[in-house]
């Protein structure tokens, strides 16, 4: 012990007189280890604590405080008591000592064993002996932390102090200016309010001392060293101000005053604070201020140009209304909600009678917001507004005015999101059911498409709420919608009608099945009448059919409807196959699209899934096979590439999503059809037994191209489903893709091959398959006069993509192969475009919807691997082949996420600027389209190359290609967003140069030039 004592004395000596700060930590370690007790430390400090030199005393206290901070948890109750008394006493000492005393007290307040009564005594001495605002920032923060610590652990004791605690706090923070400390002070104030400390007679003082910071106008310094945001302060202060209804009498006048401010942000803050505080108030607090609050809120919503202020105003109104709605009424007092809503109605209602004028919309929004606050409010407002609107609709005869009225009405009918209506409540609209329906149905037959559209939306709003449309009304609605879908010229109205039909059909399927579907069916199968008067021309007949097909798919929102509509579409396809009706190619394609949409809609329904697998797929496949075997004779639409491509997504949606087990069954049947000619899947078995769909022979393309349907089935299966006979299938596909001359066939075969390889489990089998095909690809590409180079190249491209997506080790070999083809005379350009194919999602295979193995960030990985090779290749390539490299590079860059582009671009920028000079328009366009979004998002990347960029872009504004001119002007406009000091020097030069494209011969170019020059004019000018 003696040795320890000497050691301790030594440490104290070195800290106090030797001024070695590190010794405090050593001492603390000693205390923590039990080497010496705190009491021994005090004894050792003895002389420094009693020294007549304040700095020495300060040093002594500092050491003790720092040790206490480290080991406050290990102190005994007795020690704490002695130390506290000592520290309290030290508060009266010299001012240089105070900071250290506060640190020590802070450590003591964290002691778990702080004896009862000490908290109060610490506070009393603090409030009595320390003038907080004359301390430094860190010391003030220390005081606040002492308060916070004690509030956390000794709430009951502090409450025993009564209002004195609040008074002490108010005095302590009065005049605080540092945002860091304000956050702490607001925290204490929140604790006082939310934990119900007694405010006594100091309510107003507490309000004054906090509300003087409202509205917060603190902007953190540029590098933001303390990480305090304006938002944080605002929210914290708001929580204080809105913390108690007892502040209401002071806060509400303040808010009304600040709402008059010219500063946008203080308006916003006031409105948001109003919304927050009203939530905790009752009508008693609000009553007196309601008229002025309403007139301020109304003024903001009526006059503002800012959407933020508007929406803040509306939510304040909602909050006020909700508060009044919840208040319990005294028997003698008036209903304050009623009075308030009367006020709102009085000021807004008459604007609804002037549908041409500006204020109709703000008034509508205010009324709708108030109505959305509570059931009672919505009842009252509906009762006042709906009859008024019904009357106004009849008084105004112009279509534009009527349209506005119907749109306003729709807003009142639309059930608010997150609706508060309880089941028991009667819908306030029920009483107006009949006149509303009458109005909507009469508006539906008006001549103005815009009015019709508004009416269609209102009809949907009515129909989606229970009880507002009767059975007859729904039938009538279905008839009206059918008419609009079939006859309306205006595309907007027509699509609104389709959308409405879709949402109403989900709720009322029978009405649509019996009324709309038959009418659509009739329209699809009616032949273009020969020279009949008043009939549409063949052209519009065709459009009508397409529209009907589309409508069929949109109303199939209910499984029972899908079973009605799908047979009609299948029938249409089979009719077109037999050639008995004049279906145009375009119509057959739309039929396929509709089927696909229905399949998408049916994703969740098992019933529909079964239907698709058992009926739709066999029928479609049967039709396609029959059509392909027909040969000769009239051209059959079902052998057309476009139709087959449109069938592909039907198959892949069905196999990818609908019912896994059935999909596996379907896939195996489809496979045996393609590999063995087994026709058991097909419904109408009138097909010659001998045929092989995957064998290439002269003029065999109608059969072989069906491989795209095979691809759609087998490549979209979930990974859990195993494809039988993969080996044989893959080798047949490889053969077909390398030998067939028909482009659609060999591309589809290559895609199918790739799709399977992508999902094939890794292992020897896969390795041997790949080895075989890589060998074939290499030999196929090596000789320039090989007849199948094109086919082999396509296979290479797709297989590279398949392997790249799953991070297969072989993918680099293949992509290197592609890179080497960039200098190829025949395939160079194709190879460059191939990089776009590698990077972009393809629609029918190798995407996530097809359950392909797509690794995250494969694009970034590929970019990092390939970009250096491209740059190197570019530098070595002969002049005439350089453009392929630039094109490939810009394809890759274009597909990268924005964030990666921004980090990678600076290093590649010189090359891209080079690419802008490349004479190939394609390269120019793709480079510039890659730069444009970056200029819009983060123009600062370009700052260092601004000069070059400006001259290159200006050069391109005279390009012979219109698209290049347009987009280079767009880039020049985007550059005005750079910091002013960077671009301002170029202003006058740009204004002169941009005057030239103002006279371009193409209007589209002139339009961009006007925009760009306008922005450059505003640059550096007042009022921008």
């Amino acid at each position: 012990m003696a040795g320890d004592g000497a050691l301790l004395l030594g440490l104290v000596e070195e800290f106090v007189t030797g001024l070695q700060d590190s010794k405090a930590a050593d001492t603390a370690t000693g205390v923590k280890k039990g080497q010496f007790a705190v009491l021994e430390l005090v004894e050792a400090l003895g002389s420094s604590l009693t020294s007549s030199e304040p700095r020495t005393r300060a040093r002594g206290i500092q050491l003790l405080s720092q040790v206490l901070q480290q080991c406050c948890t290990s102190l005994s109750e007795k020690e704490v008591q002695v130390l506290t008394a000592f520290y309290e006493n030290r508060l009266k000492d010299h001012y240089v000592i105070t900071p250290h005393v506060l640190q020590g007290l802070k450590a003591l307040t964290l002691c778990p064993v702080l004896p009862t009564g000490l908290a109060v005594s610490i506070l009393k001495s603090l409030f009595q002996d320390v003038h907080v605002q004359s301390l430094m920032q860190t010391d003030r923060s220390c005081v606040y932390n002492i308060l916070i610590n004690l509030m956390e652990s000794r709430e009951e004791e502090l409450k025993g102090l009564g209002a004195d605690f609040v008074f002490g706090f108010v005095q302590a923070i009065d005049g605080e200016k540092d945002p860091r400390n304000l956050l702490l002070a607001f925290q204490i104030a929140q604790n006082i309010l939310y934990r119900n400390y007694e405010l006594g007679s100091f309510t107003e003082e507490l309000f004054e001392v906090t509300s003087c910071y409202f509205p917060i106008d603190f902007y953190p310094p540029p590098n933001d060293p303390h990480g305090i945001s304006r938002e944080e302060l605002i929210l914290s202060l708001r929580a204080v101000l809105a913390g108690t209804p007892r502040f209401a009498e002071f806060l509400l006048p303040l808010l009304i005053e600040k709402l008059d401010s010219d500063v946008q942000s203080s308006k916003l803050d006031s409105l948001q604070t109003l919304a927050a505080c009203a939530a905790g108030y009752g009508h008693k607090e609000l009553k007196e201020f309601l008229p002025s609050l309403w007139s301020s809120v109304r003024r903001e919503v009526f006059q503002t140009a800012s959407e933020k202020v508007e929406s803040a105003g509306l939510s304040a109104l909602r909050s006020l209304t909700a508060c009044l709605s919840c208040s319990v009424l005294d028997s003698d007092s008036e209903d304050s909600l009623d009075t308030f809503l009367d006020l709102v109605l009085k000021d807004c209602q008459h604007h609804l009678c002037e549908p041409d004028l500006k204020l109709v919309w703000p008034s509508t929004k205010l009324l709708q917001t108030a109505a959305s606050a509570s059931y009672r409010a919505s009842y009252k407002i509906t009762a006042a507004v709906v009859p008024l609107l019904l009357e106004q609709y009849n008084n105004h005869t112009q279509n534009a005015q009527r349209r506005t009225l119907v749109e306003v009405l729709q807003g009142f009918i639309q059930p608010p999101r997150g609706s508060h209506t309880e089941e028991a409540d009667e819908n306030p609209l029920t009483g107006y059911r009949q006149p509303l329906c009458a109005l909507v149905f009469s508006a539906l037959i008006e001549s103005s498409p815009a009015l019709q559209t508004a009416a269609v939306r209102t009809l949907t709003a009515l129909g989606t709420q229970p009880g507002l449309l009767s059975g007859e009304d729904i039938d009538l609605a279905a008839d009206h919608l059918t008419r609009l879908v079939l006859q309306e010229e205006e595309p907007q109205t027509c699509s609104a009608a389709m959308e409405a039909a879709g949402s109403l059909a989900r709720l009322h399927p029978t009405a649509f099945a019996s009324r709309m579907v038959p009418a659509l069916k009739q329209e699809i199968f009616s032949e273009a009448m020969e020279e009949c008067e008043g009939r549409p021309t063949a052209q519009s007949q065709q459009a009508l059919r397409q529209r009907s097909l589309k409508a069929l798919s949109t109303v199939s929102t209910h499984p029972s409807l899908a079973q009605e509509t799908v047979p009609i579409i299948l029938q249409a396809l089979s009719v077109s196959h037999k050639g008995s009706a004049s279906f145009e190619l375009e119509e057959v394609v739309s039929a396929c699209r509709s089927l696909q949409q229905i399949a998408e809609l049916a994703k969740d329904s098992e019933e529909s899934g079964r239907y698709f697998h058992q009926t739709v797929i066999p029928r479609l496949l049967g039709l396609a096979v029959q059509a392909s075997l027909q040969g000769g004779g009239a051209p059959n639409p079902l052998t057309e590439e476009r139709v087959l491509s449109a069938m592909v997504p039907i198959f892949s949606t069905a196999c990818g999503y609908l019912h896994t087990q059935l999909a596996a069954h379907t896939a195996s049947l489809v496979l045996s059809l393609f590999l063995d000619g087994d026709t058991s899947l097909l419904p109408e078995n009138n097909i010659p037994q001998q045929f092989q769909l995957l064998k290439e022979r002269p003029n065999g393309w109608p059969e072989t191209q069906l491989v795209c349907l095979l691809m759609a089935c087998v490549c979209s299966l979930p990974k859990s489903v195993e494809v039988p006979n993969t080996d044989r299938l893959l080798s047949e596909l490889e053969e077909l893709s390398c030998s067939c001359v028909h482009p659609f066939t060999h591309t589809s075969a290559a895609k199918c091959f790739a799709g399977l390889v992508n999902k094939h489990p890794a292992g020897e089998q896969l390795d041997s398959i790949l080895k075989r095909s890589v060998k074939r690809i290499e030999s196929g590409l090596s000789s320039h006069d090989s007849p199948n180079r094109m086919q082999v190249f396509t296979l290479l491209l797709w297989v590279s993509k398949a392997l790249l997506l799953r991070y297969h080790p072989l993918s680099t070999t293949l992509t290197d192969k592609l890179l080497s083809l960039l200098v190829d005379r025949e395939l160079g350009t194709l190879a460059a475009d191939g990089f776009a194919l590698l990077m972009n999602d393809s629609t029918d295979v190798l995407n996530r919807a097809c359950h392909a193995d797509v690794r995250m960030m494969y694009r970034q990985r590929f970019f990092t691997e390939t970009a250096p090779k491209l740059v190197l290749g570019f530098n070595c390539a002969p002049e005439e082949r350089k453009s392929s490299y630039l094109k490939a590079l810009s394809h890759i860059l274009n597909s990268l996420p924005r964030q990666v582009q921004i980090t990678e671009l600076p290093s590649l920028l010189p090359l891209l600027l080079e690419a802008l000079c490349c004479p190939d328009h394609g390269v120019q366009l793709s480079t510039i389209s890659c730069l444009h979004p970056l200029l819009l998002d983060t123009p600062q990347v370009m700052t260092s190359h601004l000069e070059t960029l400006l001259s290159r872009l200006l050069g391109l504004t005279a390009s012979p290609a219109m698209k290049v001119r347009v987009i280079s002007l767009q880039c020049l406009k985007a550059l005005t967003r750079l910091p002013e000091h960077v671009v301002l020097p170029s202003r006058s030069r740009m204004l002169r140069a941009l005057a030239v494209p103002l006279g371009d011969k193409k209007r589209l170019v002139r339009r961009e030039a006007v925009l760009a020059r306008g922005e450059w004019f505003l640059l550096g000018s007042p009022g921008r």
Binding site: R1006, R1013, G1023
Partner: protein
């Protein structure tokens, strides 16, 4: 916009916007030369903001396509604008904004004439005279306060 102050015309008539110009096949054809027509000039003007309201001149019907006349061959443009009320104190400012926007947006060869629709404003002649005087327009734009308001009318609202 000041919180407490009253606007001269707080609740003006609002007109429907004409919508985007339909793209024609000629406009997409590289070879075809599109002449500058009335609609094109109107498209330049319709986005100008009103100095008082958060609305465009088109929505307030201050500019209309029928009151725009352009001759590409003679290089002349004539625009008539209609203030919302006959005593509108902003008429000169609106006219100035239109004039400046056209000066910035048209090739130099054009002669630009901006005036008030006859009979639409109390001090029509005085305003027209101001707008027609090249030197007064130039002098007005030297005034940085005026330029600020004009630029605010011409900047795109985001």
């Amino acid at each position: 916009m000041e919180g407490g102050t009253r606007l001269e015309n707080a609740n003006p008539l609002i007109f429907q916007r004409s919508g985007e110009r339909q793209l024609t096949t000629e406009e997409e054809d590289e070879e075809f030369a599109d002449p500058i027509d009335d609609r094109e000039i109107f498209d330049i003007l319709l986005t100008i903001n009103d100095p008082e309201h958060p609305l465009s001149l088109e929505e307030l019907n201050v500019v209309e396509q029928v009151r725009v006349r352009v001759s590409d061959n003679d290089s002349t443009v004539s625009v008539e604008f209609t203030p919302t009320i006959p005593h509108c104190s902003m008429a000169t400012l609106i006219g100035l904004s239109i004039k400046v926007k056209l000066l910035r947006s048209l090739p130099e060869r054009f002669k630009i004439d901006v005036h008030i629709t006859p009979g639409a404003h109390a001090s029509e002649q005085a305003v027209n005279k101001q707008l027609g005087d090249k030197e007064r327009v130039a002098a007005a734009l030297e005034n940085s306060h005026l330029l600020e308001v004009v630029n605010q009318c011409l900047s795109s609202r985001t």
